[in-house]
């Protein structure tokens, strides 16, 4: 279903343009990091790609996938995990059943994934009483269980402590290793370095650069990116 082609993608609310005419081609394989300061439009760009928002102008095209299948073959993990008031296991099963799997098949698959993210002993516990880090691991399990071609991650560790962040990053690596395309937003340079292969740098709703990670950090092209890397505020 990749590459994902963005063609002059624009999203505005009233007079405010949040995503401003972004064109890019996101290929299968490399882990793509959408980087940028808070308010740059990273999350909105991701929601547009995932289909949660409709662009006000421009197009999004997935290679060779019919519209109906597109949603099925991607999944998303949000900054704040949304857990249903049921057990951890049932939360994973819920997603699988929505995807058309039988109860038996869903339960087996869900148990497998819970084990991989280290939550097999919490399977029967209500999802909402788990810690923040556990809930985010559960959210990853729920997304991963669906076996998506593409996984969107919107600042998945923004609210977590270092230990939980490490767990999450390890799981993201494992999902990448299993062949799922990772597209992730972050404003954390360290995390971008650890997890990324290529960077889409966004500032003020515009795509400033789209480069391999090493080049981005060594020789950023735009002054905004250079300033961001130096830890300066790009609008000063």
């Amino acid at each position: 279903m990749l590459p994902l082609a963005l063609d002059q993608l624009t999203f505005s609310v009233g007079a405010t343009t949040i995503i401003n005419c972004i064109s890019a081609k996101i290929e299968a394989g490399p882990r793509t990091i959408i980087l940028g300061p808070n308010g740059a439009g990273k999350s909105v760009l991701m929601r547009l790609c995932h289909g949660l928002l409709e662009p006000t102008a421009g197009h999004i095209a997935w290679q060779g996938a019919r519209n109906r299948d597109v949603r099925r073959r991607q999944a998303m993990v949000f900054q704040r995990p949304v857990m249903l008031r049921r057990s951890a296991l049932a939360n994973v099963v819920y997603g699988l059943q929505l995807a058309g799997k039988s109860r038996r098949e869903s339960t087996l698959r869900a148990m497998d994934v819970l084990e991989v993210v280290g939550l097999e002993h919490q399977a029967g516990r209500p999802a909402r009483v788990l810690s923040g880090g556990e809930q985010q691991r559960l959210a990853l399990a729920r997304a991963w269980a669906l076996g998506p071609d593409v996984l969107f991650l919107d600042e998945p560790t923004a609210n977590l402590d270092p230990a939980s962040t490490q767990d999450i990053e390890r799981i993201i690596q494992a999902i990448h290793a299993s062949g799922t395309k990772i597209i992730m937003t972050t404003h954390n340079l360290g995390q971008a370095r650890r997890l990324g292969d290529e960077i889409l740098f966004i500032s003020n709703g515009r795509l400033m650069e789209h480069t391999p990670i090493d080049r981005f950090f060594k020789e950023p092209v735009s002054s905004e990116a250079a300033a961001f890397i130096k830890g300066e505020l790009p609008w000063h």
Partner: protein, 234 residues
């Protein structure tokens, strides 16, 4: 005319002694109001859920209207249902005026707005929190609505209890469409109204005690449900 103390004493004897006359009235009250609560739930809950997750023209107006109807005066509902069911009315051929069925209908009409408006609020709050996640997982509207209902089931249950409490405590609607016929359509509230004006305070007070206890039990139940649900499901 007995003194207040004596009246209380006699009322207490009626309540604790499970006086058959009093028991029959209490039973009919519970039957009518429970039926109304169930019927109002079957109508109000899907209505509330639909308004919560759907976007359509006039939605905001409908919400305002529904909220306003929560304060519907029971006598007015009684009057409207009376006009509908009276022999000359459009539903007169049913012949159910002055029966418990008519009372159930009147109370249902009275509490549908309460259940619809409150569950709309509850489900919409949940929808705001869940919608992106559910849409991301591919849940269609109907499935999403059902998920929201199930996930807010404990809050919804307390709404149903509130509706039931309102039905059991109202007097105007059942008085008009029921007619307060002894042994047939006489419920707690209408009996209290009648016996008080007749001067038979023990029975009125006895029923008053039962009614207040019922309200307290309902509220305790609602608090308990919230507490348990919070502890167990977060």
């Amino acid at each position: 005319m007995t003194g207040l103390g004596e009246a209380f004493g006699a009322a207490w004897v009626l309540v604790t002694g499970l006086d058959p006359g009093l028991a029959r009235i209490v039973l009919l009250s519970l039957q009518v109001s429970l039926s109304a609560a169930v019927a109002a739930t079957l109508i109000g809950l899907p209505l509330g859920a639909a308004i919560a997750v759907e976007r359509f023209p006039g939605r905001q107006l409908l919400i305002v209207l529904l909220n306003a109807l929560m304060g519907l005066p029971p006598v007015v509902v009684g009057l409207l249902i009376y006009l509908l069911l009276s022999r000359a009315g459009p539903l007169g051929s049913l012949g159910i005026l002055f029966t418990p069925e008519a009372m159930v209908i009147a109370q249902t009409v009275l509490i549908v707005p309460i259940i619809a408006a409150l569950s709309r609020q509850t489900i919409e709050d949940a929808w705001r929190e869940y919608s992106e996640q559910l849409r991301s997982l591919g849940a269609r509207r109907l499935r999403a609505a059902w998920t929201l209902i199930w996930d807010t089931r404990f809050s919804l249950l307390t709404i149903l209890l509130a509706g039931f409490g309102r039905a059991a405590a109202e007097v105007g609607a059942v008085m008009i469409v029921g007619g307060n016929i002894d042994g047939v359509t006489r419920v707690m509230t209408t009996t209290i109204a009648l016996e008080t004006s007749k001067g038979d305070l023990p029975l009125a007070l006895g029923l008053g005690i039962v009614l207040i206890m019922l309200v307290i039990v309902l509220n305790a139940l609602a608090a308990l449900i919230r507490e348990v649900a919070q502890r167990r499901y977060g």
